[in-house]
């Protein structure tokens, strides 16, 4: 069965600094999709970034980038130039093609200090 593990329950970073959130997953499939979602205090899940497993190039969205290591089954999120608005729960998620279920990790709470 596929599982997603986020080993850091909480992380903190100072404003303008860089932080990396870790995610590992377990799968026997070769084709799949990985996501990072942000859940601010409003609790709406907001897509941050998405990675297709068949792409070797790491996805980037403005200040957010991933380090996708397929062999190691690792998918970390790097937030550069952290802002106060980045404070939230961050969830890593996995999905197979044509599957309906997103499998989520337990989340990492990110605090940003001024």
């Amino acid at each position: 069965a596929q599982t997603v593990t986020q080993s850091q329950p909480e992380m903190s970073v100072q404003e303008a600094e860089t932080v990396t959130l870790s995610c590992t997953y377990d799968t026997s499939e070769s084709d799949y999709y990985l996501f990072w979602y942000k859940q601010p205090p409003s609790r709406q899940m907001i897509l941050v970034i998405r990675q297709e497993a068949y792409k070797q190039q790491n996805a980037t969205e403005n200040r957010f980038s991933v380090n996708f290591q397929k062999a190691a089954k690792s998918f970390s999120l790097k937030i550069s130039d952290s802002q106060l608005g980045d404070a939230a729960m961050y969830f890593c998620a996995y999905r197979l093609p044509f599957a309906d279920k997103l499998i989520f990790g337990t989340g990492t709470r990110l605090q940003v200090f001024p």
């Binding site: 609790r43 899940m45 297709e52 309906d100 279920k101 997103l102 989340g107």
Partner: protein
């Protein structure tokens, strides 16, 4: 652009009472629709998904049910709520296809007392 709405935003219900949560999507046709539940301090668990009107698949057996009476409307129901039904319920949609991202609504906070 597409938007997804959920209501109510917050609901407090006694044990044994019925439940109806509604989700609607605008700006797209024939979406896949999903109901997730998030227990306190945990990730999301898929409850139901639908690929079309009247087509509902259940992931987790429980006292909840889902219906899709219209293309862009998805309803989560219960005849009798349990204490364990408390949580945060999120609706999501995606375009039909193999690679599509799921986009989430604002959620409903349900407290069963």
């Amino acid at each position: 652009s597409q938007t997804i709405h959920q209501w109510p935003a917050t609901l407090v219900q006694p044990v044994g009472s019925p439940l109806s949560l509604e989700c609607t999507v605008e700006g797209t046709s024939n979406p896949n629709l999903y109901w997730y539940r998030q227990a306190a301090g945990r990730g999301l668990q898929l409850l139901f998904y639908s690929v079309g009107i009247g087509q509902i698949s259940s992931e987790v057996p429980q006292n909840l049910s889902a219906s899709r009476p219209q293309d862009r409307q998805f309803i989560l129901s219960s005849k009798k709520l349990l204490l364990s039904d408390s949580g945060f319920y999120l609706c999501a949609w995606s375009v039909q296809g193999g690679a599509e991202t799921q986009y989430f609504g604002p959620g409903t906070r349900l407290l069963v007392l």
